[in-house]
Subunit: 122 residues, 2 copies
Amino acid sequence: MSLPTRQPRSGCPIATTLDLVGDRWTLVILRDMQTGKSKFSEFLSSPEGIATNVLTNRLEKMVKTGLVRRKAYQKRPLRHEFLTTKKGQALLPVLQEMCHWGNRFLPNTWVPPESFMQAKAE
Amino acid sequence: MSLPTRQPRSGCPIATTLDLVGDRWTLVILRDMQTGKSKFSEFLSSPEGIATNVLTNRLEKMVKTGLVRRKAYQKRPLRHEFLTTKKGQALLPVLQEMCHWGNRFLPNTWVPPESFMQAKAE
């Protein structure tokens, strides 16, 4: 699936948000960042088992759409980590509502730690 | 993209929710239902311009995953409409948070009517 589209499908804030995060991985990666992960290998090690090429693709798009920024954490060899921007962090309430819904309607889903559920974006 | 997957990718309520609604259209169709649309032609007429085959596919999956139920509204010829279940309606807070986020970070998105933003799922 190609994300994001060049121009919004409509002026609807739901449709336009989904132009950016309407896929199976983007919000999972934001979840990981919210819980302290920032390195490529850390995202790869998450239990969902994202494929390397999908992770590369999603991170690139998240940088392009301003949800995430790239920051060098090592010079030789040069290595980057990925951090949420204010815009990316502000999706936290969407993640939290998905947790509420998932815990209520999807059997055997984990109950997230209070620290995640009570966290507030700037 | 094939939705939903046969088995959840993990026990994470976010990942598992995205197994059901992690695509560009499912939540747009739920938005339409929330605002009173129920017929195939009504979903087709929305400004995002969903393709007929994509709409058919998504509605089938939404029935299968229990977000939506099919109800006959006419006998000859037989015609069905699509209504949200309690499970589908309960995604309303996710839609509302996407609206808040979209209005804050995505230029020129419509501000939804108060009736939508204040609505409460059962």
